[in-house]
Amino acid sequence: MKKQIIAVIMMLSLTCALLAQAGSPFEVNVNGVDAKAAVIATASSNTSDTAEDKAARKGLLAKILDLLGSVASALFGVSNAEAGTLDALDRSLANMQQQEKAAGSAAKGAVASATAAIDKKLADLKSRIPTLVKHEATGGSSATVGSKDFKTWFNAAAKYCPDWNFPDVTNKYGQKISREDYLRAIIWIESRGVHKDSRGRVTKSWAGALGFMQLMPNTAKGLGVNASDPAQNLKGGAKYLGEIFNSGHVSKKSGAEKLIMGACAYNLGPFSKSMKKSWEEFKAAKMPVETRSYGLKMKMALGLELSADEKKLAAKWFVPSHQTVDEFTDEFYASAQGIAR
């Protein structure tokens, strides 16, 4: 850069010297530039100025000025042609800015309209969410989802939920399904929220499963919990779900498939070879109806849309005859998701 500046200064000095000899640059006759080489030779050998000499010097000065122009262009990166290009670019930029301004207001309008449509859809979805059931205490020696201590037990169990390798799924109401929602669903499906009846008897299935989460004695032992204690029972269930989501065949699944097959695994067992099947294969396979129903109930309890084929199976297997599948689904969702709210 320094060299370039020195060159410009030198050029300017030379120009000034020539101007001093040739007079004003504004008097330069462009026709005189032809004899430039001869003029230089003459100028060096002959100090007396003829009219021809003066014209030649003027031509040389014009050339030097051109050269200076080039040097300046090289220094500042702008040639005449480039300057023209820059002008054109400036004009294009101005046009583009105008177009963007116009397009910007059109895009803003489109975004506003799309946002309004989404808001409307969301409001519509929310209006379709069944009113969640507020569970009440049942009195006596009972332990249910309505018991005053239930939220404490639930929150203690939910501390195990963050460990689950849980998929991101949004339900038909536009709500993201949380781990706690899943825990609520299992409690409702397994025991309808009853751990002990009013006489203090722990809910027990024909197979020997106990309490809120219907833990089998061996499973409870493996989880290191006392299945008869309501808080420990919930904790055991949450740990068991961690086992299902993090190891065994279901852990390799994803999305809603993982949620549904996770429920089937809770009922059948996470290490059964049948858990390798997809939900589509599983619901049509020669598997216990109870386990296949469990998958459908989980979809209902989480607010996942049932296919026409699944609604037929639900009607056949467990929906009471006095209710439609949609009525039953709404009631089931409201009861399950109303737990610990």
Binding site: A207, A209, N218, N267, L268, P270, F271, P288, V289
Partner: protein, 172 residues
Amino acid sequence: MKKIIFAVLIVLLSVVNAGYAQSSERSIIAEMPHGKLVLERTAIPDGLAFNDRITLEQGDEIIEVFESEGRAIQQVLHEDLDGDGIGELLIQMDLGGSGGYREFELLHYKEGVYLPVWLETGYAAGEASIEDREGAGHKLVYIAYTDTDVEPQVEDTAIFEFTDGTLKRRQK
């Protein structure tokens, strides 16, 4: 002094090791001319998975016959079903789910190896037996279970016959 520290360290290491070690149970299923069938039951700590396995011990050589892959082996029956004089293996496994369901696998002994030829899941609280109850000269597989597919559930027995290299259920 050094000896005392060393001894204390040994004791501590033994205690820690015992706490983390998998507890195993070993039992002999059958002793045969070609080897000894052994069941080893191992619960994996801090979880529900079981690492149970059946091996065939032939002198110093141990051949892996079956691995439970997380399931808990509850019952192993060793009876000859195909009439070749060497017993097949019927394995019943507890799955640990809230429904109380089981998984059954049959390993057929053929040409010196045990091959898995049949697998069924379900049969809540199922218990298997292999007998010739009909006195027909060949044994059948019986699985007593609770049928949960009907309302209310009922106690039932599924009967299976060994045909064409696998088990086939007899119609009710």
